[in-house]
């Protein structure tokens, strides 16, 4: 195994290097995200065949399902970054963890809203205490807790480390919540609701879904880049490289 990967990662974890790297990456990521998002929407809303049971109502999955994936994916990224921040005390990891939280919360919120819109048409109710829905709601509260804890500290780095610890507790918690809600539901009524109506999904539906998934990932990368850049500037405001950027801004 070549050692250029850890070397490269080590270099990247330096704030000025990451700042420049993120600055280059961001426009590409956002452009691709918009492009792929539009393609996926066209594919999902226009090209894909209507479902034999749900008609056109199912088309919300092209937003709902990628958002749900992202809500979990971002929590995973946040957890890994939080772990790195606590163990190795790397500033960039703190920034990445804390910049991920609002994006993840937004995707979780979208998932809940689209899910409930879909639920009205499919199940005739806005909300049901299904295991997945409840877990998603708990996930939203976890995100909000991390964000609120982060902002309640005056010292941002201290806030970031503390919130990182909370994020790690949450990682343990999510499976426990899911398990307990499943148990609870089977005790009460038995889970009658499956999230995806069609058991086998038509290929015409698959590719827009996957495209949208890539688009949301790219959007996350772009959003993370700009948030992390702003946070790094604020955190490192006393450092020379920030001063240089500020001077260049004034001159340019």
């Amino acid at each position: 195994m070549a050692n250029w990967i850890p070397l490269w990662l080590h270099k990247l974890s330096s704030p000025p290097v990451f700042y420049r790297f993120a600055g280059v990456l961001r426009p590409w990521a956002i452009a691709l995200a918009v492009l792929l998002g539009l393609v996926a929407l066209y594919g999902g809303l226009v090209l894909a065949p209507p479902d034999y049971q749900q008609g056109d109502d199912y088309r919300i999955i092209f937003i709902h399902v990628p958002s749900a994936w992202m809500s979990l994916f971002i929590y995973g990224v946040m957890g890994v970054a939080a772990f790195i921040a606590l163990v190795w005390r790397i500033k960039l990891a703190e920034v990445v963890a804390m910049a991920s939280a609002p994006i993840g919360a937004a995707f979780t919120f979208i998932t809940l809203v689209t899910g409930s819109l879909w639920g009205v048409r499919m199940w005739g109710t806005w909300w049901t205490w299904d295991a997945r829905l409840t877990s998603e709601l708990v996930l939203l509260f976890l995100y909000l807790g991390v964000i609120a804890l982060y902002h309640s500290f005056e010292d941002r780095r201290q806030g970031a480390r503390t919130a990182a610890f909370l994020a790690l507790i949450g990682i343990v918690n999510v499976p426990i919540v899911h398990f307990s809600v499943v148990w609870w539901n089977t005790l009460h009524q038995g889970s009658t609701i499956k999230l995806l109506g069609p058991s086998t999904i038509a290929p015409g539906m698959v590719w827009p879904l996957l495209t949208m998934m890539v688009a949301t990932k790219l959007y996350y990368v772009a959003s993370l880049c700009s948030r992390a850049r702003a946070d790094l500037l604020a955190l490192e405001s006393g450092k020379d490289w920030v001063r240089q950027i500020a001077e260049n801004e004034v001159r340019g």
């Binding site: 708990v138 609120a148 201290q158 503390t162 610890f165 949450g170 919540v177 809600v181 005790l187």
Partner: protein
């Protein structure tokens, strides 16, 4: 080296426990507040839902459980607050004793001072809502297992907010996801008992979770405290 008599672990644990319980006893007015709060909340249920005893009987278990949880949340913020403000937490952290164990003792003292009175009046609360007498032992068992769990989980969160100024609402937001499983299993046991079904499984789950939390939560609490005060 200095010839000293370094106290043993048991001695140090007893010192923390004795001090916190003495303090709680000196301020026993504060100790009564959660109890009063639980009584008020419970007496609101019949007003909100109507005095029909069949309905009250159905919700009694869950209502008492949630009421006790909220009353505990009310007192949670105070767990380490005064220790942080007067500097005794720093002194505790500098003592030559394992911090996790000392935090465990503080959580135990807090549980004894806030949750135990609530458990004592729980039969009264349940009676106000016409919980069947047969379910009462299950309610007490569920509370005896669920309240220490909440104290332990709450202890971690309170430690995390140690560096912030005010934390009441923040604590509620952070505790909610953690206490969902606790509430589900405790309420599950009650519901099963009320329907005459076997209720031992959820109680056993709670017990298992409590054993885990007793071991892990003080460690997490100590770690959280070191992170939260490190600035």
């Amino acid at each position: 080296m200095l010839d000293t008599r370094r106290p043993g672990l048991v001695h140090a644990c007893m010192a923390v426990l004795r001090r916190d319980l003495t303090l709680a006893w000196r301020q026993r007015g504060d100790m009564m507040l959660p109890v009063l709060y639980a009584l008020i909340v419970t007496s609101l249920f019949p007003f909100a839902l109507g005095p029909e005893s069949a309905l009250l009987r159905r919700i009694a278990g869950g209502a008492v459980l949630v009421t006790v949880l909220l009353a505990m949340l009310l007192a949670l913020d105070a767990m380490f607050r005064s220790d942080i403000e007067d500097g005794s937490l720093e002194q505790l952290m500098l003592a030559p004793q394992p911090l996790a164990l000392m935090m465990g003792m503080k959580i135990l003292a807090h549980w004894l001072a806030t949750a135990l009175p609530l458990i004592v009046i729980a039969p009264l609360l349940a009676g106000m809502l016409h919980l069947p007498g047969a379910v009462m032992p299950v309610l007490l068992a569920a509370l005896l297992l669920a309240t220490p769990l909440l104290s332990l989980l709450g202890g971690i969160l309170v430690a995390l907010t140690a560096g912030t100024r005010r934390s009441g609402m923040l604590l509620a937001l952070m505790l909610l996801p953690l206490c969902v499983p606790v509430v589900i299993f405790a309420a599950g046991a009650l519901a099963a008992a009320q329907e005459g079904l076997p209720w031992i499984a959820p109680i056993a789950w709670l017990g298992a979770a409590l054993v885990l939390a007793v071991v892990l939560a003080p460690l997490a609490c100590a770690a959280a405290l070191r992170i939260a005060l490190d600035s």
